[in-house]
């Protein structure tokens, strides 16, 4: 079952802000029965939302927009049943929350009226569903593990722990495989599923699809990027084209080398990452361009065939030449030119060095944090207005998503693995970027991880946001400015009002550990080395 990550954002009537906050706070206060203050313990909700991993309901405040009601849900399997379950548990509270929202101006207005009417009994779920957003990018730390499996493997790991404890020194002198086999047979009656082969976390089909999607989008984008060079090649002869290229490329590159370095004291130790990334991956890039050439060939040959009325052999030849020039122009001119444009913007960006976080909001955020090993955050930032920036955000974010989806299979972003479920979505008609995350350990350590282990990616995602610390070449500096980035991020956040986690005591790493233990126990036999490695996790 696939883990779905969704959110809903609705504008709140300013007059109803306090009422909504009270409603959400009551929702939490009236339910949490865990450790004092533990926001993650909601037995009734967890039992009645059997597929839910994380659920949050917040009100996002900011000084230049009316507040937003944001509902975040991460759940296994199809959506319809999930919203029905949510309605069954929180229905009347949801209706009341909707009453605090503005009446939409689109074609859901009628439904809004019916759901929020005085003493209405109309189900709120269909209205909510009309406003559900698919995130532009999302990330799952324990990909391919449904909630049921996470909980079952937790129970198993605990049972293993108990057995080992009861066993005392009885294991001395045994081999890891002996221990494993003994545990397996002892636990089999309670965990019958140990007899089955564990389901693949990411089925082959899904993997292939991930790569196919990424390849398709990349092909589309790059293929379009070849067009300018190809058109020039169709118009001019090789010599003329060569001269033109030299005339354009040389100044562009000169300009680029001057411009690419961080300006002023913006630089951090991470400078030159983009270029060195390009350099270390040169073979991959060349390979990709070769594939691009091969794939584009038939396309442009057919275009030549139809548009220019050529014969096949002629068309193949002509298009090969055009494509080759297209690639040369892309690499020699278009990419550096685009980067210069980006650099131009970056050098003129305003970064907010002293963002003010509302002290009352900050106190409330802190108050909700660090009761359990997991935490939650919601942040909304405005997007910078320039066209290439917006284009980067709108196209880049999904592209980053596709790339992460295809390439990251083990939950590691860079070398950090503390994110259970995170998502990015555009709200307020695409003018703001919403970020929701359910992560491990403290907010400080989460952001230190971002800064220390994944700042390039984080910078790429957020560099188009108003006030973000100064960036160089899309991925450099930016989030590497530790405290500036943290201050900026804090100021974009709102207190989490209501938040439920289905496994509040488990970190991403521990879930993976439990999974390794379980998978190991499922095997009928393991070679000694594998068994020893398996035993390391106990």
């Amino acid at each position: 079952m696939r883990l779905n990550t969704r959110s809903i954002s609705l504008e709140v009537k300013p007059s109803h802000e306090d009422k909504l906050v009270r409603l959400l706070v009551d929702l939490r206060g009236g339910r949490s029965v865990g450790r004092e203050g533990e926001p993650g313990h909601y037995p009734d909700i967890l039992a009645r939302l059997p597929t839910c991993h994380f659920l949050s309901i917040c009100m996002v405040e900011s000084s230049d927009y009316d507040p937003l009601l944001v509902i975040e849900a991460n759940f296994d399997g199809p959506e319809g049943p999930f919203w029905a379950q949510l309605q069954a548990v929180l229905g009347e509270a949801l209706r009341e929350a909707l009453r605090c929202c503005k009446r939409p101006l689109d074609d859901t207005a009628e439904l809004y009226d019916l759901v929020t009417a005085h003493r209405s009994r109309r189900d709120p779920a269909p209205f909510l569903e009309r406003h559900v957003m698919r995130p532009k990018a999302f990330f799952h730390g324990n990909r391919g593990l449904p909630r049921e499996r996470i909980l079952a493997e937790k129970a198993l790991a605990e049972a293993v722990e108990q057995r080992l404890h009861d066993g005392g020194g009885a294991w001395n002198g045994k081999s890891s495989e002996d221990v494993r086999l003994a545990l397996r047979s002892q636990l089999m009656p309670r965990f019958e599923w140990l007899g089955q082969k564990p389901a693949a976390r990411i089925p082959l089909g899904e993997s292939l699809l991930d790569w196919a999607k990424l390849a398709a989008v990349l092909f589309l984008v790059l293929h379009l990027a070849l067009v300018p060079g190809a058109i020039l090649a169709a118009l001019l002869g090789n010599t003329a084209l060569g001269v033109l290229l030299a005339l354009v490329a040389v100044p562009v590159w000169l300009f680029f080398t001057r411009y690419r370095r961080p300006a002023g004291d913006v630089g951090t130790s991470s400078s030159n990452t983009l270029l060195s990334l390009a350099r270390t991956n040169a073979f991959k890039i060349i390979g990709a361009l070769a594939v691009l050439f091969l794939l584009s060939w038939p396309v442009s040959a057919s275009v030549n065939l139809v548009a220019k009325d050529m014969a096949w052999p002629e068309a193949w030849q002509a298009s090969a030449r055009q494509l080759a020039w297209g690639i040369v122009w892309l690499v020699a001119v278009l990419v550096p030119a685009a980067l210069i444009w980006m650099r131009y913007l970056e050098r003129h960006d305003s970064s907010q060095d002293g963002p003010v976080t509302d002290p009352v909001a900050l106190r409330q955020m802190r108050e909700m944090e660090d009761w359990i090993p997991q935490n939650h955050m919601v942040s909304v930032v405005s997007l910078r207005p320039q066209i290439p920036r917006r284009a980067m955000s709108y196209i880049g974010t999904p592209l980053i998503h596709l790339a992460l989806r295809a390439a990251v299979r083990d939950g590691y972003l860079g070398s950090m693995r503390t994110i259970h479920c995170a998502q990015w979505a555009f709200v307020n008609n695409g003018s703001r970027l919403l970020f929701l995350s359910n992560y491990d350990l403290s907010w400080e350590s989460y952001f230190d991880d971002f800064i220390e282990k994944a700042h390039e990616g984080v910078t790429a995602v957020w560099c188009g946001s108003v006030g973000f610390p100064p960036v160089t070449m899309i991925i450099e500096d930016g989030a590497a400015h530790g405290r500036a980035f943290k201050n900026w991020a804090r100021h974009s956040m709102s207190p989490t009002r209501f938040w439920v986690s289905a496994y509040p005591t488990l970190t991403v790493d521990q879930i993976e550990r439990n999974n390794r233990i379980a998978n190991g126990l499922c095997a009928a036999s393991l070679p000694p080395a594998a068994a020893r490695q398996w035993a390391d996790d106990l």
Partner: protein, 521 residues
């Protein structure tokens, strides 16, 4: 002393020195553990004058009896000074100036959310890691209500208590380092008398010592060699004779221990700029203005009481409960257990599978080791041992490709430890003599949240450190499990708490120019 204690290479930080231009401004304690001054007096001060004005006078008096010593060379005695946020306020530092200090410092160690993070108090109860009845002393910083007029905060369902007050209020800490005990005691007395004249009381005084053993090693009360591992600050300009690159294992940015220099996150902390001759903020362009934080740092102090007999008796119980060592057939000793708790042998060498790490220098245990290649699974040095939690080095990596970035990232959370003992060594570690003893644990760091608090919260006290579960630091944490790597499966035992917090807070360690400025308030 012909045979100088070998371990003081690190203690003294003689592996790094500040460049001249900075050395005379920075307090000596930042760069040195004063191994040549093993005896010290730690005085906790409370300002008793009424109101919050003219609070600089005591510093002028102090200058006469116990001037704070800079880091520009070895001296026969040394004085270090730290002031709490409530202390600064009492001295008359304006709120607009205080706003330029870091938040944890302004809020104090016993702010309610902070106590939860440090695991000192969760909800309404003190944790087991705090002495009965709660800590004795702190800065008693009032709770910051964030000027909430909306009532939003007041309406929250509250599950903790926000006002915590300790019996003693501490506004400043003064540490006098000497060679001999009588000298230190007399000097402390003299200082106290002088301070008394300007309404400053010494509310708590402790003789604190390094205490070398016969081999020139510093041993803390449980008997372990301490002070072996320290970070080595590096800065191209501000460090004297800086090597071209930071130390590959222990190198950190100077800005992580000294404010106003480039830190691990590539930033330079700017403090409030004050008028050299006045009391208020200076024009931001004033070339003569003084950056109050520049060349200062933050000092975290935690007075930790140690129940030595409790620790060793419990170690013995654990050793017995494990049965004989399958390799030797002999029972495990309590030393064996204690060594796993720390992660180093009694001699100070880090544990490795089947023994300890071979020394490069036969006189001193190595400290430039890593974990990933040689002891990834913790078969030697347990994954949750005190030194692995305190500084995981590259050991949090799960794949070879991560080791570099994880070492770098764990070095962003390093702290300089300046701990000294109080109370006498115990006669027989198995017999409780009822005497109070422990560690006056001090940490020098520039970003309290990213360094001390991170270490305490995310590494030491986290029940989810790495893939461990339900266990915290076996030396500092509450009663919990403790796993020790072994074949075929790890041994997991229950450890109890024997180290308890008796007081503490966050202090600002001003630069000498800043002290001078403060003295004119």
């Amino acid at each position: 002393m012909g045979g100088r204690p070998v371990s003081d290479k690190n203690l003294d930080g003689s592996s790094w020195k500040l460049a001249k231009s900075h050395a005379h401004e920075v307090q000596g304690m930042v760069v040195s553990g004063f191994s040549h001054l093993p005896i010290s007096q730690t005085l906790l001060l409370q300002f008793k004058w009424p109101g919050t004005a003219h609070g600089g006078k005591w510093l002028q008096k102090l200058e006469k009896v116990a001037p704070v010593t800079p880091a520009d060379g070895k001296q026969d005695s040394s004085v270090s000074l730290g002031i709490t946020a409530t202390g600064l306020r009492k001295m008359g530092v304006g709120e607009e100036i205080l706003a330029g200090f870091s938040q944890p410092f302004r809020e104090g160690m016993f702010q309610t959310d902070r106590m939860r993070r440090l695991n000192d108090r969760v909800g309404k109860d003190w944790s087991e890691c705090v002495i009965k009845g709660g800590p004795l002393w702190s800065a008693n910083t009032p709770f910051d209500h964030a000027g909430d007029g909306s009532g939003q905060l007041a309406n929250l369902p509250r599950r903790d208590s926000i006002e915590v007050e300790t019996e003693l209020t501490v506004h400043a800490i003064l540490i006098i380092h000497c060679k001999e005990a009588p000298e230190a005691a007399a000097w402390a007395q003299r200082t106290a008398d002088v301070l008394k004249q300007c309404d400053v009381d010494v509310v708590r005084a402790k003789e604190t010592t390094l205490g070398f053993d016969g081999e020139g090693m510093v041993r803390e009360h449980y008997g372990f060699v301490d002070g072996l591992s320290q970070p080595i600050p590096w800065d191209e300009k501000a460090v004297h004779d800086a090597p071209p690159e930071p130390d590959p294992v222990n190198g950190i940015a100077l800005g992580d221990v000294l404010l106003g220099h480039v830190d691990g996150h590539h930033e330079v902390t700017k403090g409030p700029l004050v008028e050299r001759q006045g009391k208020g903020l200076a024009d931001p362009d004033d070339k003569e203005g003084l950056d109050l934080l520049f060349n200062g740092t933050y000092l975290v102090v935690r007075e930790l009481r140690q129940d030595v007999a409790g620790f060793w008796k419990s170690a013995k119980r654990i050793a017995r409960s494990m049965g004989p060592d399958p390799k030797t057939g002999r029972p495990f000793g309590e030393d064996w257990v204690g060594e796993r708790v720390i992660g180093r042998s009694m001699a100070g060498d880090v544990l490795r599978p089947g023994g300890v790490l071979k020394r490069k220098d036969p006189a001193v245990p190595d400290n430039d080791f890593l974990y990933f290649d040689d002891d990834r699974a913790g078969l030697g040095c347990p994954l949750g041992s005190h030194i692995r939690r305190g500084n995981p080095r590259d050991g949090l990596a799960t794949k070879p490709s991560q080791t570099k970035s994880l070492l770098a990232s764990s070095n962003r959370h390093r702290i300089i430890r300046r701990a000294r003992k109080f109370g006498p060594y115990i006669e027989d570690r198995m017999v409780d003599d009822g005497v109070e003893r422990g560690l006056m644990f001090g940490v020098i760091n520039a970003d309290i949240e990213r360094q001390f608090e991170f270490v305490q919260q995310t590494w030491m006290m986290s029940p989810s450190f790495r893939t461990l579960f339900d266990e915290t630091d076996p030396l500092l944490g509450p009663k919990s499990h403790f796993s020790m790597g072994a074949e075929p499966v790890r041994r997991r035992v229950t450890v109890h708490n024997h180290t308890r917090l008796a007081g503490g807070d966050y202090f600002f360690m001003p630069s000498l120019p800043a002290i001078e400025w403060l003295s004119r308030l």
